[in-house]
Symmetry: C6
Subunit: 197 residues, 6 copies
């Protein structure tokens, strides 16, 4: 059964796109923080998807200024990243930008843009890399009531191969840099009942 | 051999519903706390079910205020979660809300509602997700002398497919949010001989 | 080769009952403590039997008052639990009450009742759960010169199915609560040369 | 799909050469540092490639003076090394000199020479060892717009077996010592927006 | 190739008996201590043999007085136990008394009796348990120039089944308690160049 | 492709002898130290070869005086041991004396004797044990331009079986004790640019 887009009321919850054996689907990356140390990851994830979470977290640590996150906050809070639904094994690097966005949102309490989904691998040099399954992911996004998508610039050619009628009602953002993802995905305003640090 | 509902005298003990190779059964999630640090989990559990315990605990850490649990209590106590019966391997995400309820009960010493069982996956954004095996679980609940059930709103359609005669004597609570689970499942009163913190 | 009952001179040594591929046998649960932190477990044990030791220890930590064990003692001593004989792999939850009794004995230095054996699973809510292999275990107990047995109330029906002549000379204690086990199994007196804490 | 050389704007990003089942390719070694302790490694790497990262890091620790890196910096910063692309498993010792260069670059913020790639195993005695797949790696380097290559002196004979026309436009540096790699690969100038320590 | 008895010049080196696929052999248990914490074990050992080392160490910790070993010494020194020869995998509980003797010797610097070998399982209640392969082990002991043997009392029956001519020149000590092993195996005198603590 | 002897300019680098599926070869054991704690080991090594490194390190810790290494140095420095070449899996106990020599050299900065190779298992009682593959190892040593060899006394018989013409130009040292290895292998002088502690 496929998921639908949900509201963006909670910081740290971002919509990604998955490519599974039964076609595409959306998935949610959820991050929460609490006083403590370390990074824990759940959601029946394989090694590569867990690595994406580590990469996203380390990138933020090394570039905290750029995201206006204080070193103190990173030092004093522990992060938990979860990807529902536990019964489904998940793997691969394509949730990278979704995880990065989720983490920046939870540490800044900035609101995620409404009806937005994304897919793309991240790197430590700040580049976004292309991923597979674009067609299936886009069909799933439409079905799930997504209106905007962030993809890697190098995935544009995959979109151009899809029939126009399938793309109707979808706005595409093609990016090369991880900074662009954050600029597009996170609004300037904080979520309601934002955590005070 | 199937289990029966037991009394709600002890904080931290909550009745869940399991779907096994031999049909449905009830199961108990048991939590205790003592001075110390960390979370330990036993009961012959698979990876996904252990992850549910981690998710529940991290959610409580990040939302301690909402459950009226002091940060100090979370910092100074260690938690042990156990799921009898050790001889039976158990897995899957469906004990999520039962684990959450168990943990909130043991940290608040609030009494669990009598003759209540529940099943549903939890998320870090506070939503309850639907789970499988609803029919088998409901039959097991009746057999075990359960009177009220908490299910995900998205599982209502599974209940509607069950013959009315099977549902007689059962009251259903359909929920979307994890907060609703706690409001329904935990009474305002503390257990007898409640721990003083 | 089957074991015989041994004396109860040493605190922390309790006789359990095992159900193996070659029939029933008694086994010994041995606990010792020394200055330090943590719980170590040996004896060629499987995952579930190791979990029993963890459950017993955590239950004691959370209910130390009830067993008249001081928090200070629990904080300052490390525990080692061993189950001879190393060449035989052992598993399952049925040594739970034996482990609990062993730990309470070693922390209180109370003497274990003479010629007593026991079998039953433990829970964090203080209940004793029934276990399998009752007939084989009872025959082994007789052979080993055991005179009294502690079993779960729910295992009484298994005993009633055994021919009376096999049960001659054995006294049965049926229990529901873990507290009852301790009351029956441990005498009021301390062992000779009891450790001073 | 094969990768292209990218710019050398970011410290800690160095171009290596990989030999895969579908021929040669370039790969990027990316290192970042942030306040903290330890070394984490991602990129779907096998045991030997992870060991290369450890060897490079330990070599730098033991020879910090030689690279003008202060002990204080090494003590106070944690390192994360990543090798995109997560979907591709990678292994082997041949990225050793690339990892060493990446780490020295990130700790000194020195700029990596433009359009340079390298391949070679490292040792704790400071020697560079030859590696396999030289022909495939060189073809991949050309395709990726690389202009200079660092190889082990002992790999020169593999280059001499390649047709001259394939080598046109490529400059080769043959090295025996790890120091030579750093001297060739890192410029004297720092990257723009270099981290201040 | 079979081993020969060696001299008892070094504290912590004790001769055991092994039963292998090619017959019996002697083996050496070697323990050393140095400032630090913890217990490390090498020698290509299986899980049960490693557990024997843990049991021996924990037994000594809990009964330090009995062996005249100060708590301070146990707190401040780390132990390493090794069983040559690394190329041969070894397992089983029968080196238990040999490990215990080795540890007591290294912590007291008491000299091990000359031309003595032993085999037997240990328990936390201080009993020695019988082991298998007695005939093969005794033949190996003779071949290795051993003159005295410590065995479990329950293994006496296995010795009685062996032809007298095979036993000529061997003196047997049958023990039930671990204390007896130490009394027989360790002389009152310290080794030459004994460590000063 | 087989390796050649290299110079002895660097402390901690010692030449060993390996017996592989394609015949004998020399190998290098490389150790470096830096401020910190612990022992890390790389080189695609199996369990037994890693254990050799642990044994060597623990032996040095327990006998630091004998090697004129201060306790302070051992406490304040971490050690990394590497065995090139990463692409080749390696295992077995025969590099023991080579690892011991490498560690003593790096901690004392004493120069290793020129054109020397060695092979032999180590023990905690200070004995050197014989190893296999002597003929293949000696042929490899000659090919690699080695002039002196350290072998276990018990391996002398293996050398005597080799045709004299194969042994021409090689000097053999047969040893029983680990101390003898160090006396032969390490010169009195320090390496050039020796580390100051
Ligand atoms: Ca879904
Ligand atoms: Ca995604
Ligand atoms: Ca059941
Ligand atoms: Ca449930
Ligand atoms: Ca037995
Ligand atoms: Ca039992
Ligand atoms: Ca590529
Ligand atoms: Ca490379
Ligand atoms: Ca042998
Ligand atoms: Ca033995
Ligand atoms: Ca080689
Ligand atoms: Ca060697």
């Amino acid at each position: 059964e496929r998921d639908k887009y949900e509201t963006n009321d909670v910081a740290g919850v971002v919509t990604g796109l998955a490519w599974t054996s039964v076609g595409g689907d959306i998935l949610f990356i959820e991050s929460i923080i609490s006083k403590g140390k370390g990074l824990s990851i759940t959601g029946n994830l394989g090694k590569v998807m867990k690595e994406s979470a580590t990469i996203a977290m380390e990138y933020i640590r090394a570039n905290a200024d750029e995201f206006c996150i204080s070193q103190k906050l990173l030092d004093e809070y522990k992060v938990h990243i979860h990807v529902p639904e536990g019964a489904t094994p998940k793997d691969g690097p394509s949730a990278g930008i979704t995880m990065l966005t989720s983490l920046v949102s939870v540490f800044t309490q900035r609101k995620v843009k409404s009806k937005l989904a994304m897919t793309g691998e991240i790197t430590l040099r700040g580049k976004v890399l292309p991923v597979g399954g674009i067609k299936e992911k886009i069909l799933a996004a439409k079905r799930a009531n997504i209106k905007e998508l962030i993809l890697c610039k190098d995935n544009e050619k995959d979109v151009l191969e899809i029939k126009d009628s399938y793309l109707k009602g979808l706005k595409f953002h093609y990016v090369s840099e991880m900074k662009e993802v954050i600029d597009i995905a996170l609004t300037k305003q904080k979520v309601k009942n934002a955590k005070k640090f």
